[in-house]
Amino acid sequence: MARNPYLPYPARIEEVVIENEARDIKSFRLVLDNAQDAAEFRHLPGQFAELSLPGFGEAPFGIASSPTETGYLLFTVKRMGLFTTELHSLEAGAGLGVRGPMGKPFPWDRMVGKNLLIIGGGFAFTTLRAAINYTLEPQNRTRFGSVFVVYGARTPGELMYRDELAKWQTRDDIDVHLTVDKADATWTQHEGVVTSVLDSLKPSSENALAVVCGPPIMIKFTLFSLAKLGFPDDAIILSLEMRMKCGIGKCGRCNIGSKFVCKDGPVFTREELRSLPAEY
């Protein structure tokens, strides 16, 4: 008999990292309790999982770690409602459940041999962190062309994964551009929205795929910029947010048109989204 898809894997929080100045975004490094569960849990960047807290329910989150980071799963979560507030109150050692991995990952088969333009805004950068670490892994790096990253946040203090961003910026096999809407006295990098960076640096659309995750307003204007740069709709990869419950295409909540975001997405090309009602 197949495993009950509603049964979470038991897991434990190994480390909690506060990611931003406002202290409302935290990363949770989780380790599954059972080695067999850990072996079964095989994901690719772009997929998500449901975290489970008995008494508080479940909520879906993008997996922020790459499968090449073995031994743990990383989730970066902004405090918003009941579930995330409870999660934020937990410390290392606390138990919780994980159900997944769910959904379709970024189209890694298509991405081989391509130049990758990775564009992120705010706390939606989580699965992009997974994607970047995946491409930078030595055995993977040669499979992709250039990796060009633009990551924006409101202020320098709101950029997540700051130690890693700094490390990436010292490497010569990835180009990382950071931008903030509002700089402070110490800020020496780009200032302005993500699209202003794209419009001035003009990354090439030649043999390239763009992966975009961010708030709706950023997505909207980024799509204009990408079109100007010559990215066709099927070369633009997006990830949708939708309220979810079951995560396996049964409960109907994330239905948009003939798709279910949980199992047919959350990753879609812009071309695929054009055939769906704009209900997201």
């Binding site: 197949a2 509603y6 909520a59 939708m242 396996i248 049964k250 409960c251 948009i256 199992k263 009602p277």
Partner: protein, 350 residues
Amino acid sequence: MTEKRIPHTDLDRLLDRLRGLGAVHAPTRDESGDVILAEVSPGKPVVLDYKNFPLSPKVFLLPQTQTLLRFTNGKPHEPAPVAGNGGPSQGDGRPPNRQAFLFGVRPCDARALLALDEVFLGGDQRDPYYERLRAKTVVIVLACTRPMSSCFCTSVGGGPSDEAGADVLAIGLEADLLLRAITPKGEDLLSSAADLLGDATPPAIEEAQERARKAADQIAPVELDRSAERLRNAYDSPLWGILSQKCLGCGTCSFLCPTCHCFDITDEVRGDVVRRVRTWDCCAYPLFTLHASGHNPRPTPKERWRQRLMHKFRYAVENLGRLFCVGCGRCIRNCPVSLDLRAVFRELGA
């Protein structure tokens, strides 16, 4: 395909035989006089001249509230298999250990079970709770003779003596019930009661056909041809805003709908006991799609009402090749503001 008949006067003997094999649910009057599908003990009168049950039999396979998991000390457990009697409508999520016979399901509601099967038994992952209840359920359909003005099964592929979703199709004749086995489960049922059954004679079969034809003739057709295609071009129609203006968002339509299956999962805490519970939900509710950020992709009744009809008449057709409407008419009969989905298709035109 085995075809048999049993005199009306022997129906109790047949039900007694089935009671030896499992729980028998049949049409019977509740305390208010409504005919409902409920477990009947020996001697309790079974009613055959009802129109349809207020609640669809989906409640037997997808209970309105169903425990999926229990947590003790934070560890999740699946509900343990049931030890004693397990009717299929149990909401505690325990796997049933005996069969349940649903006797007297109308053809529209039986057809709806095939739609639920597509959702819960199809796709990449099967739903184990539904699967266990489904495996133990035998559906004996009773053909309709008196359709209601809200019925339109013949416009969505069904009919008053439709076999879809039935294990056995029963057709009421003057003196007998004609019983036709449709599936292997149905064949098993008829052979387990073989000594009570007579052969279906050609005149009996002819009488059954005649009754089916008469019933079908009473049903007013609705223009539902090519619904998916017509709706594809109607997403931005002003019709949605106009027709949904009076919608209260009460969800009665989807709770009573035999194919509506959207559900919520929430945790219930009572003392030390934490249960993860599945409950019916409805796309007409504003909270259904409300994001934690406050953003709601379907902010008004217009978008929500459109979603409900689009899902049934277009998206389900595109995904599963099947309408998620069986023409039972419950949404029409029970809407507190008399919304009638047939108006959409009338107004849309061809």
